[in-house]
C-alpha cells in the first residue's frame, strides 16, 4: 500500500498474475511515482525484505571477520598439536582444527581472506570489463568485432578450467589469486556493458555531445559509464558472490593460499578428511559461512536488479 493509505494505481493488479499496476507502466510513463528515479530505486530495493536480510548478513560477515579478531583473541600463527581436534567447548566455542588452531578464530581470519579476495577480484573484473565493453561498444566497427570475438573465445573456456590451468601455471598467493580470478571474470561485465553502450550510443544526448564537439573519451567517461552504473553495480554484486565461490573451489582443489593464511574454502578442504571421523565442527562452520555470504550477495544483487528494472520501465 502507498504511504498515504489511498489506493493508487501502483497497487492494482489487472492481470491477476500478482503484478501491481505500477509495474505494468509502459516505457516513458512517469506519472504515478513520486521522487526521482534513483529514490524510487532505493524505495523498491528497501521494500524487498530479502535485500535487507542480505545487507544485514554482509554487514555481519564483515564485522565478524574484521572486527571479530579484535574482540576475540586467538593464536593463529603457531600451531599447537596438543589441543588438536577438540570438540566445541568452553575454551574453544567452535573447537580446534587438526593443527591446534581455534576454529572460530580461523573462521574470522578465513573470512578476511575470502571477503578481501572476493571484493578485489570483483573490482578488477568489473574494472576491466567495463572499460573493454564500453570501448568496444562505442568505437564499433571492426575493432568492436575483434574485441568481442576475443571475449567470445575466452568465454568458450569454462571459468574453472581456465582458473585451474592458470592456477597450475602461476604460484599461489593472495594477489595472484585475485588477479587470476579477475582476469577470468571480466568477460561477463564486458559483454553486458557493451550491450548497454550500444543502446545508449543512439540516444539523443550522446549525439548532442558529438555535435558539440565532444570526443569519444568524454562520451565514454561522462555519459556512457555513469548511465550503465546500475547494470554494473548489479553485476559487481554477483561477481563478488561468484569470486567467493571460485576461491572456495580453488582452495578445495588445492590451488588456494598456503598456510598459515587461510580462507573458508581452504578450511573446508582441510577438514574434509576428518568429517567422516565425526569432527563436524571442522567443515560445517566454514561451509555455512560461505553459503550465507554468497546467499547474501545474491539477495542484494537480485533486489538491485529488480529495483533497476522498475526504473527502466518508467524511463
Amino acid at each position: 500500500m502507498s504511504t498515504t493509505g489511498q489506493i493508487s494505481p501502483v497497487d492494482v493488479d489487472p492481470t491477476g498474475f500478482g503484478l501491481r499496476g505500477g509495474e505494468l507502466m509502459p516505457e516513458g510513463g512517469e506519472g504515478y511515482h513520486s521522487g526521482s528515479a534513483w529514490r524510487m530505486v532505493l524505495r523498491v530495493f528497501l521494500e524487498n525484505r530479502l535485500a535487507i536480510v542480505g545487507l544485514a548478513m554482509i554487514l555481519f560477515m564483515l564485522l565478524f571477520s574484521f572486527v571479530g579478531p579484535l574482540i576475540y583473541h586467538t593464536q593463529q600463527v603457531f600451531n599447537n598439536p596438543n589441543i588438536a581436534n577438540h570438540a566445541p567447548g568452553a575454551a574453544h566455542p567452535l573447537g580446534t582444527d587438526p593443527v591446534g588452531y581455534d576454529v572460530l578464530g580461523r573462521l574470522m581470519l578465513g573470512g578476511q581472506s575470502s571477503l578481501e579476495i572476493g571484493f578485489a577480484a570483483a573490482l578488477i573484473a568489473v574494472g576491466i570489463g567495463v572499460i573493454w565493453g564500453a570501448a568496444a561498444g562505442l568505437v564499433g566497427g571492426i575493432i568492436d568485432a575483434v574485441m568481442m570475438r576475443i571475449v567470445d573465445a575466452l568465454l568458450a573456456i569454462p571459468f574453472l578450467f581456465a582458473l585451474i590451468v592458470l592456477g597450475a601455471i602461476f604460484t599461489t598467493s593472495i594477489p595472484e589469486l585475485i588477479i587470476v580470478i579477475g582476469f577470468v571474470a571480466w568477460l561477463v561485465p564486458a559483454r553486458l556493458v557493451r550491450g548497454e553502450t550500444l543502446s545508449l550510443r543512439v540516444r539523443e544526448y550522446v549525439q548532442a555531445v558529438r555535435v558539440m564537439g565532444g570526443g569519444t573519451r568524454r562520451i565514454l567517461f561522462r555519459h556512457i559509464i555513469p548511465n550503465t552504473i546500475g547494470t554494473i553495480v548489479v553485476n559487481a554484486t554477483f561477481q563478488v558472490a561468484d569470486a567467493i565461490l571460485y576461491v572456495a573451489t580453488l582452495s578445495y582443489l588445492g590451488l588456494g593460499v598456503p598456510p598459515p593464511a587461510t580462507n573458508w574454502g581452504g578450511q573446508l578442504s582441510n577438514g574434509l578428511s576428518y568429517v567422516f571421523a565425526g569432527y563436524w565442527w571442522l567443515i560445517y562452520p566454514a561451509g555455512i559461512a560461505i553459503v550465507l555470504t554468497v546467499v547474501a550477495f545474491n539477495f542484494v544483487g537480485d533486489a538491485l536488479r529488480d529495483a533497476l528494472e522498475v526504473r527502466l520501465q518508467s524511463r
Binding site: 492481470t15 567470445d152 575466452l154 569454462p158 574453472l160 601455471i169 573451489t249 582443489l253 546467499v295
Partner: protein, 314 residues
Amino acid sequence: MIGYLIRRFIQAIIVVIGVTIITFILLHLLPGNPVRAILGTHASFQAVKQLTDEYGFNKPLPIQYFIWLGNLVHLNLGFSYKQNQPVLALLSQRIPKTLFLVGVSLILAILLAIPAGMWQSVRRNKPDDYVGTGLIFIFYSMPTFWLGLLLIVVFSEYLNWFPSEAPQDQLGLLSQLNGMVLPVVTLTLVTLALFTRYMRSSMLEQSIQDYVRTARAKGVSRRAVLFKHILRNALIPVITLIGLSIPGVLSGAVVTETVFNYPGMGLLFYQAAEADDFPVLLGVTVVVAIATVIGNLIADILYAVVDPRIRYVS
C-alpha cells in the same frame, strides 16, 4: 534464415580459431622449457636437443602454432608422459562418461526447472515463493563440492543409501547405477537452481508484456494465458541462457567428478593439473572449449528457429 546461419557459423569458426590461439599461448606461458618439463631435469643434452628438434620447439612461435594446429586437425592432441598414453586415447575413454553425467544432469535440470520456474513466477511474493526462492538461492550459493560432500555425509554415511564413490570399473557406469545417483543429483541440483532462476525471471518478464493484458482483457483464462502465451515466449531466451551456461555446467562437472572420484574428463583434468601434465590439460581445454562453441551455436540456431524476429534484426 540462411544468411543468419552462415554468419553465425563463420562467427563460431572464428571463435574456435581464437580458442586454439589462446590455448597455444597458455601452453607457452608455462614456466621453463617444455622439453625439460617432459624429460625431467636430469636429461642429457643429447636427449633435450633431440626432443627439441623433434617437436620443433626451436622454430619461431607462429610456425609452431601452425604445426600444433595441424596436429589438432588430425586429432593428434599430444602425448602425456605422465600417464604414458596419447592424450586422444585418454580423452576418448573419459569423454563418454562425462557426457553421460552432464547430459543426464542437464536434461533433468531443464525438465525440473521449467515447471519450478513457472510455479515460482505465478506464486510471486506469496509465502511459497519465498520458500522456493530461498531454497533455490541456497543451492545456487553453495560451492558445488560442498553440496556433494553434504550429500555424501547424509546419504552415504548416515543413511547408507548410496555409495560415496562413483563406479570405477571400465565396463561401464551403468553396471552400478547406485553409485551414479549422488553425482548426478549434485550436478543436477546446482544446475537446476540456475535454470529455475532464469525461468522465473523470464516468465515474469513476459507476464508484464502488453499482449498478456490484452489476452486477459479478451477474457482468456489465467491458465490458458500462462501455458499458451507466457510459457512459450518465456522459453525462448531461456534456450540461449541454457546454451550460455554450458561452460558453467562443465565446470560443475569437474568439481563433482573430483568429489565423487567419477572417472570422467573433469577428474582427468584435475589430476593433470595436480601432476603438471600440460599436454592433457591443454587437450582437455581445447576439447571443452570447442564443445562449448558448438553448444552455443546450436542454442543460437534453435533460438533463430523458434523466434523469427532475430533472423532479420541481427
